[in-house]
Subunit: 122 residues, 2 copies
C-alpha cells in the first residue's frame, strides 16, 4: 500500500465518509476544516490521482461539474432531472463483465449514469 500525503489522505477520508456524490468545491470546503490552508488545486490534482489509482470514481452526470464517489463498486447512478438528486442502485454483480471480456478489454473503472424522474418527482 502506498503512502499518501496528508492532503491526499484527508481528501480520501472526506469522500469515504459520505454517501453523496460531491463536487471538488464541496470536498475542498470539507477538507479545509482539517487543513485550513489547503489549495483548491491540490484537491483537483489529488482527485485525479486517486481516480487514476482506482481509489475513487469520477462521475459526470451532466450538471456542469465533475462529481466524485468513494465507492468504487459497480453501481448505477440515477439522476433525477426534477430535483437533481443522485440515487445509487447497487448490483449483485457487474452484468457487463462477460461482455467486456469478450471485447478483450481490461476494465479499470465503470461509471453508469441514468437520467430520469425519481418517484418523488413524478
Amino acid at each position: 500500500m502506498k503512502n499518501y500525503s496528508r492532503q491526499r489522505e484527508a481528501i480520501l477520508e472526506v469522500l469515504r465518509s459520505t454517501d453523496t456524490h460531491p463536487t471538488a468545491s464541496w470536498i475542498y470546503e470539507r477538507v479545509r476544516e482539517k487543513i485550513p490552508n489547503i489549495s483548491l488545486g491540490t484537491v483537483y490534482r489529488n482527485l485525479t490521482v486517486l481516480s487514476e489509482n482506482g481509489d475513487i470514481l469520477t462521475i459526470n452526470v451532466g450538471d456542469g461539474q465533475e462529481r466524485y464517489d468513494g465507492n468504487t463498486a459497480a453501481h448505477l447512478h440515477l439522476r433525477c432531472t426534477g430535483c437533481g438528486e443522485i440515487y445509487d442502485a447497487f448490483l449483485k454483480s457487474d452484468p457487463f463483465r462477460d461482455l467486456i471480456s469478450e471485447e478483450g478489454f481490461i476494465p479499470e473503472a465503470a461509471v453508469y449514469v441514468v437520467r430520469g424522474i425519481c418517484k418523488n418527482c413524478k
Copy 2:
C-alpha cells in the same frame, strides 16, 4: 414527429451518419460543409435540445469535453486509456431495467462508460 429547423436537422443527420462519438467542434465543422455560416452556439444549443428530447445521447468519457452519440440504444462505451479510442459494446437488453423500475425511477437516457485498456494497447 416534430418539425426541426434546418440547422437542427443537419446536426442530427451528421450525428447519425457516423458511428464515432464526436465532440461539438467536430460536428460543427461537418455541418459547416452544408450550412457554412452556422454558429457554434447553434450547434451547442441544438445538441442540448436533441439530447433532452431523447434523439441523441450526451456522453462524457472524462477527456475534457462532451461527446454525442446518435445511437440511443443502451450500449456500453469502452474508452481505452492507452489510445483514447471509444469502442461500443451492444447489449441484447438493458440489464438494469428491472433494478431501475424497482427504485420507482422512470429512465429517460442511460450512459454507460467503462475506462480500461483495449486489446490493441495491452
